[in-house]
Symmetry: C2
Subunit: 284 residues, 2 copies
């Protein structure tokens, strides 16, 4: 199954036989004081810089989230999306938990965006799915419902089925859905890594949809988080995740190696190209 | 299933609910000119140094291979094993394709060693299995037979079944067998990574035995091999490999992270301990 996302000049295909698609996560004020303050002041300079830096680091899609407490997201998100579109031609992921902000951003976006996200909660399904259908977007579906985020694979797979059914009933083709299996921090929930891998394998077998994972939650509270995130994304990719929401500069090298091992990089072209471009001191 | 290997003072358990066991691969003259020349001269100083360095780097088992063309392995292997036993108390893996050398090493070894290896070839099954039974050792079974190394999962799984059946018929309990699924270089055989992961999952489901992987072949001919090896061992571990034959210093950090994600490191004890012991400049 292939999920297509585009800007006016670029198309990105998320799919089993494609290289893993990397969504740059850095335009997000959560835990970033400087960015949060700039956004509150309506200053989009950091947003532009991060868009450029992530594209140069190899991001295939850029996530744009301006959710700061007290901010008017429905006014700011389309402005941020405009600023990013003026800076790079990378396709975008419009990221907000506020449907009005999503609609405002959908109105200004040029191309077919990915929307982050709908959940299995009734209020989300009812409000977000019609927007996705109306604007012909693709959407990330988070496996949580009105009872919260299930801890085991069984519960997560059940919510994934629900989202797929409701999306199809709303006129959204299955290939425009990307399921996010939602990992917990392994420091707090030691069994959650195994549960996520099982969830990915089952959703792939039962629904065939594309899947994404955020890497950074997994390592919360532990030292040397990059190492844990790297191990996690490699496993998730091998299990069947086809795109990742990550700090691209920190994850791209190991994912290119993973794609190579998984036969998703013909003649090792991407791997060798990235190796040649890497600064000398990082090579071994 | 648990495979137990021991020295007089240490026991190592290879198994599903255990941390991944790392077998240090560096005492092996293949591609190491200095070591090969020292071994030809009967000089075991490098062997002692490597035994100590790998143990300090966190090796659970040390592989000892002295196979240099023209050398009398049956005379040298037991001497090398003696030298390593005098240097460290880490359990050993006695490594030779020469059954006489294996028997000479088995005679001097104190404890229960791992033997590397038996294959599905008739001459190997007939000569090596009786030695394993006689000395009560554990043994690595390579999935190759008289037709060579199968490229697909189907062929590899078939040879694994054959080795398990023949070992059990020779009086060796299944828990004393560790199957090596034999990876090819992905640069030359792009589909071999996926085939190996499928092989590991099928052997785990069908036979339940412990499995090992050597990491280094996979990256042959490509730059920045450590990155590919790291991605490969993480996937192999997630698929079900329970021990790895590796350059321990280069692989241990990411495998500790993988074990943590896979719920094999209670309260992140091993991960955090290794982090604390790592030199400062390597921490992030």
């Amino acid at each position: 199954m292939e999920t297509k996302v585009s800007s006016p000049s670029k198309e990105v295909i998320i799919g089993d036989n494609q290289p893993t698609v990397l969504i740059g996560e850095r335009i997000n004020p959560t835990g970033k004081k400087k960015l949060a303050e700039a956004l509150k002041a309506g200053d989009l300079e950091i947003v532009r810089k991060e868009a450029l830096a992530q594209t140069q680091a190899g991001a295939d899609i850029i996530d744009v989230n301006v959710g700061v407490f007290g901010i008017d997201e429905a006014a700011l998100l389309p402005k941020a999306v405009q600023a990013v579109m003026e800076t790079v031609d990378t396709p975008l992921c419009l990221d907000s938990s506020n449907p009005d902000a999503l609609e405002a951003a959908l109105k200004v976006y040029k191309g077919k965006p990915l929307v982050n996200s709908v959940t299995g909660e009734e209020h989300s399904l009812k409000r977000v799915l019609p927007l996705i259908e109306k604007y012909g977007a693709a959407v990330i579906g988070l496996v949580q419902d009105d009872d919260g985020i299930p801890k085991d694979a069984e519960g997560k797979v059940r919510v994934a089925h629900k989202i797929v059914e409701r999306a199809e009933a709303a006129g959204i083709p299955r290939e425009d859905l990307v399921i996010d299996c939602l990992a917990f921090a392994v420091g707090a929930e030691p069994a959650s890594g195994v549960a996520v891998m099982e969830t990915i394998r089952r959703i792939k077998a039962e629904l065939g949809v594309n899947m994404t994972m955020g890497a950074s939650n997994v390592s919360f509270g532990l030292p040397d988080r990059e190492l844990i995130n790297n191990a996690f994304v490699v496993m998730a990719t091998a299990a069947g995740a086809t795109c990742l929401i990550v700090d691209v500069a920190k994850v791209r090298s190991i994912i290119l190696a993973a794609d190579l091992v998984l036969g998703r990089d013909k003649r090792a072209r991407r791997y060798i190209e990235a190796y040649r471009q890497r600064p000398k001191q990082e090579k071994q």
